[in-house]
């Protein structure tokens, strides 16, 4: 049993150390295999951790160097953290398998090792964001993720990708500046950086009724910083360029995983530090709800106008992130559950859509809708992945998107005045999603020339890519049809994380 407690730290260390070992390899293809093996190992470890903690129904804090609470640095893990780590590892492995050929084509051979190193560091930072229980450690890893993500965006070395990396970096710097300012204020007020000690200090301030304003300002600054980084609606200007100009692997991982890492920190802050009272009395929950609502509608409307497939998917990411904000803004235990479920569903679905789109773009050598006409007939596997993913995000029953919308709707029904706006937003944005995904699906399955029978000549793609897309499809269907298991696991994890609402 003792070994299980070491899994969080070991997985972070293993990922970082394996990243450092990458320069030892000469061949880029071997590097991809190597990091996939490491990702599989971490995934299996996280699965084991999740199952073990779920059967014991407990969570634990791990003291680094056995230094006790107010001084030391801590990691914390429960079933929820295990589940996130497992899903993130799964998405990393499948993305690398599914976009292997793209990666080798887009990145110069002598840079492939460096690219994999950056990806591994990004993955390590994400794991650290999931497990950490210390605010400043969270900040450091947020920065590690930001810097690596910027380089990953510019890895294609085209002019456009460098310009978008610069814009991404600017927004990232602003976001981390605001986040750090929030941390500074909170530290000045309480003198703590660990979540558990912060929670006690904040509770004491609330009981004594003093210093409410600085607490609210700090919560506001941190929320603002993290929402800039996770491309929530008014701050999403950097996202479409960055995700559309990068190579497929980068887009899938940035869209599917990185944006969620920041939201996990935001969620931890809400539950473990500020608690429901500060969140509700400072109208922060209402702000999150409002941002979520606005994002769901405006980002979807913006997606309608895109002429490039990847830009459309990127805008759709911003809209899907808004669902998470909306559910967090409901300020209840059920809302948190819906947010976690949406994080998992979107991570699996969005990576599948990006991989499918990437395969089609490779098949027809074009990324505008005009060029993509009939692309799914050429690359059927990519077409099916894009179609199922798109339909899932529109909320068609039996697919994962439906069950996450169902969870959000359940949470909305349980709230008071938020019910009507949340349900309206959910319905309207589902219709908007359908308005851009369904025409897109029709285009890719359509004929290149009207009134002409075309022969069916699919391009062959590697077995690995097929397997990865097939597995993602299976996950999507599984989450759509039998989400009870995952939902119970998340519920258990949230209950262990702390009470909210």
């Amino acid at each position: 049993m003792g070994l299980v407690y070491n899994i969080p730290l070991f997985s972070i260390l293993l990922v970082v150390v394996s990243g450092v070992c990458i320069p030892l390899f000469r061949n880029g293809r071997h590097v991809i295999r190597f990091i996939q093996i490491v990702q599989c190992m971490v995934g299996v470890g996280s699965l084991f951790l999740m199952v073990e903690l779920s059967t014991l129904n407990e969570s634990f804090t791990y003291q680094l160097g056995h230094v006790p609470a107010p001084w030391g640095n801590e990691l914390r893990a429960g079933p929820l953290e295990g589940l996130f780590a497992f899903v993130f590892s799964l998405v990393m492995v499948l993305t690398f398998s599914g976009s292997r050929e793209d990666l080798i084509a887009d990145i110069k051979p002598h840079r492939l090792g460096n690219y994999c190193l950056l990806m591994q560091l990004l993955y390590g930072a994400l794991l650290a964001m999931i497990y950490t229980d210390d605010l400043f450690t969270a900040y450091v890893f947020v920065e590690v993720a930001a810097v690596t993500a910027c380089v990953v965006v510019s890895a294609k070395e085209s002019g456009r990708s460098i310009v978008s990396a610069i814009r991404y970096l600017m927004f990232n710097c602003l976001g981390s500046g605001l986040f750090l300012l929030g941390i500074a204020i909170l530290y000045a007020l309480t003198g703590h950086l660990l979540f558990s000690s912060l929670q006690q200090a904040v509770e004491q301030y609330l009981l004594s009724g003093s210093s409410k304003l600085p607490l609210i300002v700090s919560a506001l600054l941190m929320t603002l910083g993290l929402s800039i980084k996770s491309a929530q609606f008014p701050f999403h200007a950097w996202l479409p360029d960055a995700h559309a100009s990068a190579t497929t692997t980068s887009s899938a991982i940035l869209s599917g995983l990185l944006l969620k890492g920041y939201l996990i920190i935001l969620m931890k802050l809400m539950v473990r530090v500020f608690g429901p009272f500060v969140m509700v009395s400072s109208y922060l929950c209402d702000l999150l709800l409002l941002l979520g609502l606005a994002g769901m509608l405006f980002a979807s409307v913006a997606a309608l106008r895109q002429e490039e497939v990847k830009r459309m998917i990127a805008y759709s990411s911003s809209a899907q992130i808004s669902y998470i904000f909306l559910s967090l803004g409901l300020g209840s235990q059920l809302g948190l559950l819906a947010a976690c479920f949406q994080i998992i569903v979107h991570a699996l679905t969005k990576s599948m859509i990006f991989l499918g789109a990437g395969a089609m773009i490779n098949g027809v050598h074009g990324h505008y809708w005009g060029q993509l006409r009939g692309a799914a007939r050429k690359v059927p596997v990519g077409g099916i992945a894009f179609t199922v993913g798109g339909l899932s995000l529109c909320g068609i029953p039996l697919l994962a998107g439906f069950s996450s919308k169902y969870c959000i709707a359940l949470a909305a029904l349980d709230s008071d005045w938020q019910m009507a706006p949340a349900l309206f937003g959910l319905a309207a944005s589902s219709v908007l999603n359908a308005m851009y995904y369904i025409p897109a699906i029709l285009v890719i399955w359509g004929r290149t020339k009207p009134n002409q029978e075309e022969e069916w000549n699919p391009i062959s793609i590697g077995w690995e890519q097929k397997l990865a897309l097939g597995f993602l499809l299976f996950c999507n269907l599984y989450l759509g049809m039998r989400f009870g298991l995952v939902r119970n696991l998340i519920e258990q994890g949230i209950n262990l994380l702390g009470s909210f609402g």
Binding site: F136, Y139, V140, E143, A146, V147, C150, V151, S154, E157, G159, R160, I162, V163, A165, I166, L169, M170, N172, C173, L174, S176, G177, L180, L181, I183, A184, Y187, A188, L193
Partner: protein
């Protein structure tokens, strides 16, 4: 009022610096000036952190045997500033290297011009 300003001067200056940095970072088209703005913004936060840990009349937090000092400044914000500086240096380096790339490609440091050229190049291909 004046007393309040004097008392809170570090915080006020840091907010002003943050605002200047922010405006330069987002509104100035020149990439090098953007980098300067970014550094100003980061520095303002470090000033804020350092001012927070300062205890009037306190000494550096190194405890010597037999010394009668009882007041020490808080060392933790100093540690945070150091970490922050490392982060700021790395983002600056990254920003500079990207700028260098763009300059070699488009022979300009003006982001508006670069955006125009990048769009044009994209249409040509």
């Amino acid at each position: 009022m004046l007393e309040l300003i004097l008392e809170q001067r570090y915080y006020m200056i840091s907010i002003i610096l943050f605002a200047i940095g922010f405006v330069t970072l987002f509104l100035h088209p020149n990439l090098i000036k953007k980098i300067i703005g970014l550094n100003l913004m980061d520095t303002s936060i470090f000033l804020f952190l350092a001012a927070m840990g300062y205890v009037g009349g306190g000494q550096a937090p190194i405890i010597e045997e037999g010394s009668s000092w009882t007041m020490y400044i808080n060392p933790v914000p100093g540690g945070l500033v150091l970490t922050g500086i490392v982060v700021a240096v790395s983002t600056t380096a990254l920003f500079l290297s990207l700028t260098h790339r763009l300059y070699r490609k488009y022979h300009s440091l003006n982001l508006d011009v670069i955006l125009m050229l990048a769009k044009k190049g994209q249409e040509d291909t």
